[in-house]
Symmetry: none
Subunit: 148 residues, 2 copies
DNA sequence: CCCGCTAATGCAACACGGTTGCATCGGCAA
DNA sequence: TTGCCGATGCAACCGTGTTGCATTAGCGGG
């Protein structure tokens, strides 16, 4: 499962670059996400962190770290088929302002596509635009193979 | 919002055809789903059933009816972006593949826009397309007025 | 090297969606 | 009309996610 061992300093730099304090919780969670082969649920991450020899991280802290990672774009959050949120580390080197997401309905994974985003459609009177996301749903190659 | 008024006998026939007893709960829930403009959550369906003058339906019964409808193929169940299940009647007539949604960040409401959907971007090898949704976030006129 | 500000954490309690066990009710067929 | 058994209601439970608040610790400045 532990595919990659992400560099510690890379992770610390990423957190610092996001303008926040480098804390053990953030480092361990981001490292875990980056080395995970598939999107992880809160429970799975908690379980993994409980067995790495280091002190336990509180449930709530884990939720807050995950939400913070998503708010900075370092991670993605998506509900899987069971309705549980799964988190995955954002792929580096991808410009995040404007592109298209593919969401796997099987594992909850998020994949960034190359295609440029479509133009903004016309809104009825009174509506205020905040943002736009083209979400494509389907199954990723891995889930297609396992036909879940 | 209540677009269509589905025929009562059509609904009873559909339930009977699925090989189950025709009960008020099943009839009312299926009728509600068929006349709904968008997929409904458990809470929304319960709310709607509480205001139609007929006796209330138990939370658990509603869950069981919804699950039964899905198991027979009369309805579909899918987790929305917040991770809660939404149910929709299976209607072969309605082309649901493609249109644009506006999601209000204030009240959580979903509005269907008229604009035609953008073309499907090219997918990498191995990905299987299930559907596409252009999600526009912002505030609806009512929430803009109350500036929450 | 220490100090202090404030972001980040831990803890407790809560909110909500969804499920299970079991006693009772009522569709429907004989 | 009767009776079986599927469907319902009720209560209690579980897991996921959130909120409020007191305490801790990262890190910039003296």
């Amino acid at each position: 499962m532990a595919a990659i061992r992400p560099s510690l300093s890379e992770i610390q730099d990423a957190i610092r670059a996001a303008g926040a304090r480098v804390t053990p919780a953030r480092v361990r969670v981001l490292a875990g996400l980056r080395s995970a082969a598939a999107p992880q649920s809160h429970a799975e991450i908690e379980e993994a962190l409980a067995h790495d020899g280091q002190p336990a991280i509180d449930r709530v802290t884990l939720y807050r770290v995950l939400d913070w990672l998503c708010s900075t774009g370092l991670a993605h959050k998506a509900a899987d088929a069971r309705g549980v949120f799964r988190f995955s580390a954002a792929q580096p080197n991808v410009e995040h302002a404007a592109h298209v997401h593919f969401r796997c309905t099987g594992c909850g994974g998020v994949f960034c596509l190359e295609s440029p985003p479509p133009p903004v459609p016309e809104l009825p009177r009174g509506f205020r635009l905040a943002g736009m996301a083209l979400d494509i749903r389907g199954e990723c190659p891995r889930c297609v193979r396992e036909h879940r």
